[in-house]
Amino acid sequence: MSKTALAPALAGKRVLICVGSGGVGKTTAAASLALRAAADGRKSLVCTIDPAKRLANSLGLSGGLGNTETRVPATALEPLGIQSRAPLYAMMLDMKQTWDDLITRVAPPDQRERILSNRFYQSLSTALAGSQEYISMEKLWELRRRGEYELIVLDTPPTAHALDFLDAPNRVLDFLDNEAAKWLLSPALKAGKFGMSLFNRSGYVMRALAKFTGTEMLQELSNFMLAISSMNEGFRERARGVRQLLEDPSTGFVLVTSPHPERMDEAIHFHTLLKQHRMEVVSLVVNRVHPMPPEALWEDAATLTPTRRAKVEETLRELQVLAEQDRTGVEQLQAACPGVPIVQVPRFELDVHDITALWRTGRYLLGDEALE
C-alpha cells in the first residue's frame, strides 16, 4: 500500500493544523494523527477545541480534558494491541483561561487587574467572535516555543469564515501597527489622558461616532485601549511570532472536509486562502466517503427471495447513489485544488468514538488502507 502525503508530514513536521468547517471530523483526524505519530515514536500533543467528552474518554482520560496537557495513559492503547513508542499528550483549550494567562504574562503588573476587570476585556475573552481563532493560535505558538513536543497537532475552532482564522493574528498586528492607532494612542501616552485627547482632537468625527455608540461607550473603550497599550510590544511580538509560525516550513495544514457539496465549497475557499497566505496544505482529507458496493453483490442479491431481494437491491442502489455523489465530489475537489494530495477516509458503519476508531482512521490517513 502506498503511503499518503501525511506519512512524511507526520514524521517530519513540528506542527500540523487541522482546519475545516464544523462537523467534518477535524477533532477525530487531529487525534488520529497525534496518536499515530506517538505510536511511531514521536512525542506528540493533540490540542483540541471541541469540548467532546468522548474524545477524552476514548483516550482513556476519564477526568476529561483541561487546559493543561495530560499524558494519555498507556492502558488507553491496550485495545489496539500496540505499544506506543513515544508518549501522547492531549489537552482541551479553555479560551477564557488562555486569554487570562496571556494578559497575566504580557501586561505590566500594575495594569493586570485593570484589564482583567474591564468590561471590554471580559466580552473579548469569552464568547465573542474572532477571539477564539486568535487565542488558539496564540496557545499553539506558546506550546511550540517551549519545544517539548516533537509534533503538535492542533484542532481548530469551526470557523464561521475561513478568513477569521487566518486573519486573526494579522488583525491584532494591523491594529497595533496601524498609523491611525499610533496617532490615536501617542498623544494620549504623552499626556497620560487618553480619553480626553480622543474627544478633543477628533472633534466632529468623534462626536458623530459617539452618536452611534454612545459617549460612555467610547470612553470605556478608550480606557481599555489605554490599558492594553502598555502591552503593545508584547502583543506585537507574539502576533508576529504566530504569523511566522503559520508560514514556517515545519508547519503544515491538513484541510479536512466531507464530500458533501456544501462542505466542499468551504474547503475549496479555505484552500485558496491558505495558498494566498503562502501556507502549506500538506493534504486534503475527505472524511466519511461512501465506497462503491462491488458488482458481485448484485449477483448475490439476485439469488434472494423476491421481497428480500427488493429490499437489498434498494439498499444497494442507495449506496450506489451515495458512492457516486462522493466520487463526483472528490473529483471536483481535486480539480479545484490541483496538486494537493487527497486522502479519503471511508464512512464507518456507525459513528464510533473510541480508540479503535481513531486508530482505524489513522490507517486510512497514512495509507495503510485505502478506499478502492
Binding site: 468547517s21 464544523g22 462537523g23 468522548r54 468590561r119 471590554f120 471580559q122 466580552s123 473579548l124 464568547a127 465573542l128 467572535a129 477571539s131 469551526p158 464561521a160 469564515h161 488583525r171 491594529f175 496601524n178 491611525a180 496617532w183 490615536l184 477628533s202 466632529y204 468625527v205 458623530a208 452618536k211 452611534f212 455608540t213 454612545g214 459617549t215 460612555e216 461607550m217 470612553q219 470605556e220 473603550l221 485601549m225 458533501h260 456544501e262 462542505r263 458496493p293 462491488p294 458481485a296 453483490l297 448475490d300 442479491a301 434472494l304 427471495t305 428480500r308 429490499k311 437489498v312 434498494e314 439498499t315 444497494l316 442502489r317 442507495e318 449506496l319 447513489v321 456507525l350 459513528d351
Partner: protein, 304 residues
C-alpha cells in the same frame, strides 16, 4: 401544537453539516406557499438557499426569488453601512465618520459590533412596514450560524445590554433582545442528524438558547433519517451472504439509531421532532427541497 405560521421569526440552527440551509429553504418555501410574504436571511454565508431553490444568488440586497419569497445574504460591510446610515441619517455624515481611517480601526475593535449590525439588519426587516401599515414580511426565516456561533450571535443583544454603558448601542440591543425573547414572535427550530454528536449539540444548543438568550425551542428536525427496512428475520436469512448481510445490518443499525435519536430529542427538548428521511437523489436541488418541505408541512401548519 401551534404551527410556525403563528410566529414571525423562525431561527434555524444546529451543528455544522446537518442541513440547516436545506431546512431553512424548505421552511421558507412552505411559508411562501401558505401565502405569507417571506424573507429568508442567510448570515454572511455562501447563499445556499437561493442555489437550492435554483434561483440566482440574492446577494446583500433583498431580492425576490419567486412569489412571496425573498432572500438576502446579510453581510457585515453592507449591514454596517445601512446601520450607520440609519443612525446618522445623512450620507455625507456617514462618509465622514465611517470612511474615516481612524474610526474604521476603532470600530473593528469594538467587540461584537459586527454581530450586532448583522442581527440588527435582520431585526430591522422583521419590523419593517409597508405604506399601508402591514408588515413588509410576514415571516423571516433566519438560516443562523452553527451551534457555537449561533449562541454567541444570538446572545449579542443580551451581552451588550450587560456590558455597554447606556446609549444608542445599548438601546438598539435592548430592542432586539425584546423581540428575540418574545415567544409570540420568535421560534427556534433545531436541526440534527440521527447521530450522537449532532443530537448532543442540539441538546446543548437548546439549553444555551433557553438559559443565555431566553429563546424557546419550538421543534426539532431529525434530518437524513433512515427508515426501517430490514426485519430481524431478514437479517437472519442474509447470514449466508456475508456482504449483503453487512449492508443490510448497516442499514438496520442506522434506522435503529434514528429511532433512538428521535426519542432522545423528544424527551430532552420537550418539543415535537419532525423526521426527514435521507434522500437519494444524484442532484440536491429544488426537487429535493420540495420533498423536504413535504415532510415539514405539519411543523409549519401545526396540523399533524
Amino acid at each position: 401544537m401551534a404551527g410556525l405560521l403563528d410566529k414571525r421569526l423562525w431561527i434555524v440552527s444546529g451543528k455544522g453539516g446537518v442541513g440547516k440551509s436545506t431546512v431553512a429553504a424548505a421552511l421558507a418555501l412552505a411559508s411562501a406557499r401558505a401565502g405569507r410574504r417571506t424573507l429568508v436571511c442567510e448570515v454572511n454565508a455562501q447563499e445556499r438557499v437561493s442555489r437550492f431553490l435554483e434561483r440566482p444568488a440574492a446577494g446583500p440586497e433583498v431580492t425576490l426569488l419567486e412569489e412571496n419569497l425573498w432572500a438576502v445574504d446579510v453581510r457585515p460591510q453592507e449591514a454596517m453601512r445601512e446601520y450607520g446610515l440609519m443612525v446618522l441619517r445623512f450620507e455625507t455624515l456617514y462618509k465622514t465618520v465611517f470612511e474615516n481611517r481612524l474610526v474604521r480601526y476603532f470600530l473593528r475593535f469594538i467587540p461584537s459590533l459586527q454581530e450586532l449590525v448583522l442581527l440588527g439588519k435582520i431585526m430591522f426587516h422583521l419590523q419593517e412596514k409597508l405604506p399601508d401599515g402591514r408588515w413588509r414580511f410576514d415571516t423571516i426565516v433566519m438560516d443562523a450560524p452553527a451551534t457555537g456561533h449561533a449562541i454567541s450571535f444570538l446572545s449579542v443583544p443580551q451581552v451588550l445590554v450587560q456590558t455597554v454603558p447606556p446609549g444608542p448601542m445599548s438601546r438598539e440591543a435592548q430592542k432586539m433582545r425584546d423581540l428575540l425573547v418574545d415567544p409570540a414572535v420568535t421560534a427556534a427550530v433545531l436541526v440534527a442528524l440521527p447521530e450522537e454528536m449532532p443530537v448532543n449539540e442540539a441538546l446543548e444548543l437548546h439549553a444555551a438558547l433557553r438559559d443565555k438568550v431566553n429563546i424557546r425551542t419550538h421543534a426539532a428536525v431529525l434530518n437524513q433519517s433512515f427508515p426501517e427496512r430490514f426485519t430481524e428475520a431478514d437479517l437472519e436469512a442474509l447470514l449466508g451472504h456475508p456482504e449483503l448481510h453487512h449492508a443490510a445490518k448497516a442499514h438496520h443499525d442506522r434506522a435503529a439509531q434514528a429511532v433512538l435519536a428521535g426519542t432522545k430529542l423528544e424527551r430532552n427538548l420537550h418539543a415535537p421532532v419532525f423526521t426527514v428521511p435521507r434522500l437519494f437523489t444524484p442532484e440536491f436541488g429544488r426537487d429535493a427541497i420540495e420533498q423536504v418541505m413535504g415532510h415539514l408541512e405539519p411543523l409549519v401548519t401545526g396540523e399533524l
